[in-house]
């Protein structure tokens, strides 16, 4: 019989291997799912994971689109990773993304039809401010009133959706759009258009920013005192406190960083790929980024790859939908499997599977687990 046994130290190997295991399990599980739906599992997996990267008729478009789809996920996940490392659970990056986009858009639209080189940068700055402001609500409530930031930040997502709807049916509604609930198109004003840098690729400045942020975050996390404090807090608030970490300040900074990056991502998205505000503007980047952050092991380089992988499942999933006539729900189940298997595989970081004589399934860490813990 199989038995789970606590490891004395979390396994560094499994820490890296878990996402790959999860990916492999998703491929197998997904194959079975498509088989049940009456689709050829090998073709299905090829369409999702291979075709967007290597199909000759598609790659010129799908490869750069991977970056377009991954960039906001990576930016938001980078922000989230600081908080998650410190044990601060900001689940509301989606709301910070929306409020950032709204703040940036509002300033841009107020300036319309002015044209000047500084407008888009100003919109991005306002987006950062908007995201930070929205993140400060759960941050300050936690610091001063000890509220639970999970609940507050999550509920504020739904508030942000309502504010978005109110604004696009009111003050930000396009005056030339027949009352449809959407803003002017940012593509119509060159100063607000986050245009593609190379024609036909869709690559915009936000993607370059996301790439630079990967490096910056890696540096801060590994080399900067702030990264050290964050990691210390993740171990234990008490220890961090004794070591002189100003815990409340770290909480505010972590939520602020997520808000800033999510807000900036919101502006890049609305002025670029999305083109305008509408109630359908948010498509869940802020939530998907949580998966990306964990899939990437809260490590900036890992997040880069996790974001690209997630984008691949979106783009490949779309192909699978219309090539195989697979229902949209099947694709979502497939993406859900990835997180599910990751959580399962993460068990192996702290536990090992052993063939063993009958006994308890979980052998707890303390005293009695001597035998298991030491026999490495």
């Amino acid at each position: 019989m199989l038995r789970l046994e606590a490891r004395a130290q979390p396994s560094a190997l499994m820490q890296t291997a878990a996402p790959l295991l999860a990916l492999a399990a998703t491929v197998v599980g997904g194959g079975i799912l498509f088989l049940i739906l009456g689709k050829n599992p090998f073709v299905s997996i090829r369409i999702i994971f291979w075709d967007p990267l290597f199909d000759a008729s598609l790659v010129s478009y799908t490869r750069p689109q991977l970056l377009v789809k991954a960039a906001p996920l990576i930016m938001i996940a980078l922000g989230l990773s600081f908080g998650f490392r410190a044990g601060i659970w900001n689940i509301g990056a989606e709301g910070q993304f929306v409020m950032g986009a709204l703040a940036g858009s509002a300033v841009g639209l107020a300036l319309h039809p002015l044209e000047a080189f500084w407008i888009l940068p100003l919109m991005v700055l306002c987006g950062i401010a908007g995201g930070i402001a929205w993140a400060m609500i759960p941050a300050l409530l936690r610091v001063y009133f000890r509220t639970n930031e999970i609940l507050v930040s999550l509920m504020l997502v739904y508030v942000s959706y309502r504010i978005l709807t109110a604004l696009v049916t009111g003050p930000l509604r396009s005056p030339i759009g027949y009352n449809f609930p959407e803003s002017r198109s940012f593509h119509d004003n060159p100063s607000m258009h986050n245009a593609e840098l190379w024609s036909g690729t869709g690559i915009h400045i936000g993607i370059l920013v996301a790439g630079i942020l990967v490096v910056v975050c890696w540096y801060v996390m590994r080399r900067h005192l702030f990264g050290y404090h964050v990691n210390l807090m993740g171990q234990s608030n008490k220890v961090a406190g004794f070591a002189g970490v100003r815990i409340n300040l770290v909480i505010i900074c972590c939520l602020g960083i997520t808000g800033a990056l999510a807000g900036a991502a919101g502006v890049f998205e609305v002025t670029g790929p999305a083109g305008k505000l509408s109630p359908h503007f948010p498509v869940g980047y802020g939530f998907t980024a949580i998966i990306v952050a964990f899939l990437g092991r809260l490590n900036p380089i890992g997040i880069l790859f996790a974001g690209l992988l997630m984008a691949l499942t979106y783009i490949g999933g779309e192909l699978a939908q219309f090539i195989l006539d697979a229902p949209a729900a099947a694709i979502q189940v497939f993406q859900g499997m990835l997180l599910f298997f990751l959580v399962a595989a993460d068990l192996l970081v702290n536990y090992r599977v052993k063939l063993a004589v009958p006994g308890g399934l979980f052998k707890p860490r303390p005293a009695e687990s001597d035998a298991g813990g030491k026999s490495t």
């Binding site: 008729s57 598609l58 478009y61 799908t62 689109q65 377009v68 789809k69 709807t165 049916t169 009111g170 027949y178 009352n179 449809f180 609930p181 959407e182 198109s185 998205e269 790929p273 999305a274 083109g275 305008k276 509408s278 109630p279 359908h280 503007f281 498509v283 979106y314 783009i315 779309e318 192909l319 939908q321 219309f322 090539i323 006539d325 229902p327 949209a328 729900a329």
Partner: protein, 357 residues
């Protein structure tokens, strides 16, 4: 708006004829839906059309669809992927696909696009929509007759001309047969969200409504009406099975014949960029079987209204009609132009609600 229609007419005359695909290969036809095909409303009806296309042309077509495609950047990418994968004809079936459709169409001049409920066209983008307001005039007529509280509830989505026009058409028809009738309107700012739709229905009932009209896509309002023993109407598809007692009739969107006709046109090489807006007369809008639970004479008069609209002898917007603020919109005997209807952004006189602006 008139300008757009004129421009549209001019483009029809100039409209480029798109060449037929090679006759050996099946014609590749794609459909893009904004929600799940199982919504039993808007998307379900478009999917019914897709099925008829498959049934009609068999091996001569290769038909696919993608459902629950978010409007905006994701839809633009999906359309591009379809075009790159060799699709010849793509139907994009939601308003929010308008700009993406135009963008992608400009990059693939050999691919034909059909966009529903929008107002932007191109040489390879035709647009189509249905005169749902004609059906609403029939439901308004019935509502005016069957209400006992004289309060009719209306679940509305977004204050766009399409929806405002529906409210006005239903209200005018109801007032015509019942001068005391009032409309209570709730804006839910969504097309498909069953819990919110149910909340709206409950709120309307609390305000005294004993008949509920809806512009939203789900069957939630019917279920609530069934529970409270009041009347309700279905939307987009025949929803009678969801309210055995409450359901009077549904306004059915029947896209199928149009889809078959357009696919055939591409096959024949006669496809042109057209602007289609049809209603009861061609069957693009249908009034489903009217329940026998309402008085027989009401059913008969409702059918008469339907037939009169279908044969053109009755226009749902025939003057005298004033705007809500009391100013004149249509003089006695005058009927509304399509341009006026397409840009409608005011309530007619008698609706005691404020239109969100």
């Amino acid at each position: 708006m008139r300008g757009i229609r004129l421009l549209a007419a001019a483009t029809i005359l100039l409209g480029a004829v798109v060449g037929p695909a090679s006759s050996d290969d099946p014609l590749k036809v794609g459909f893009i839906y904004v929600g799940p095909t199982g919504d039993h409303g808007w998307n379900y009806q478009h999917d019914q059309g897709r099925m008829l296309v498959e049934e009609t042309f068999g091996d001569a077509v290769d038909v696919s669809y993608a459902e629950s495609v978010p409007e905006g950047a994701d839809s633009e990418r999906l359309m591009t992927q379809m075009a790159l994968s060799g699709y010849d004809l793509i139907f994009t079936t939601s308003f929010g696909y308008m700009d993406p459709t135009i963008n992608v169409a400009s990059k693939f001049p050999d691919v034909v696009f059909e966009h529903s409920t929008g107002y932007k066209r191109a040489d390879n983008v035709a647009i189509y929509n249905a005169r749902f307001y004609e059906g609403r005039a029939v439901t308004g007529h019935i509502a005016g007759h069957v209400t006992k509280s004289n309060v009719v509830g209306y679940i509305a989505t977004y204050p766009i001309p399409e929806v405002v026009r529906g409210i006005n058409a239903a209200f005018l028809a109801a007032r015509k047969v019942n001068p005391d009738v009032e409309f209570k309107i709730i804006w839910v700012y969504t097309w498909f969200n069953p819990p919110i739709e149910a909340d709206a229905a409950n709120a309307l009932i609390e305000q005294g409504a004993d008949v509920i009209l809806q512009h939203v896509d789900s069957t939630a309002a019917l279920l609530v009406a069934e529970e409270h023993g009041i009347w309700a109407f279905g939307q987009a598809s025949d929803m009678s099975e969801f309210g055995p007692n409450s359901h009077i009739t549904s306004i059915v969107n029947n896209w199928a014949p149009y889809y078959v006709e357009r696919v055939r046109a591409v096959m024949d090489g006669t496809w042109q960029s057209t602007d289609t807006w049809e209603g009861l007369s061609t069957g693009m809008v249908e009034v489903s079987e009217i329940s026998d639970k309402i008085p027989a004479e009401v059913k008969a008069s409702a059918l008469a209204v339907r037939d009169a609209i279908a044969d053109g002898s009755l226009h749902p917007f025939t003057g005298p009609i004033n705007r809500q603020d009391g100013t004149m919109w249509l003089a006695a005997g005058e009927t509304a132009s399509d341009g006026d209807l397409l840009g409608q952004n005011f309530y007619v006189e008698g609706i005691d609600e404020e239109l969100p602006q």
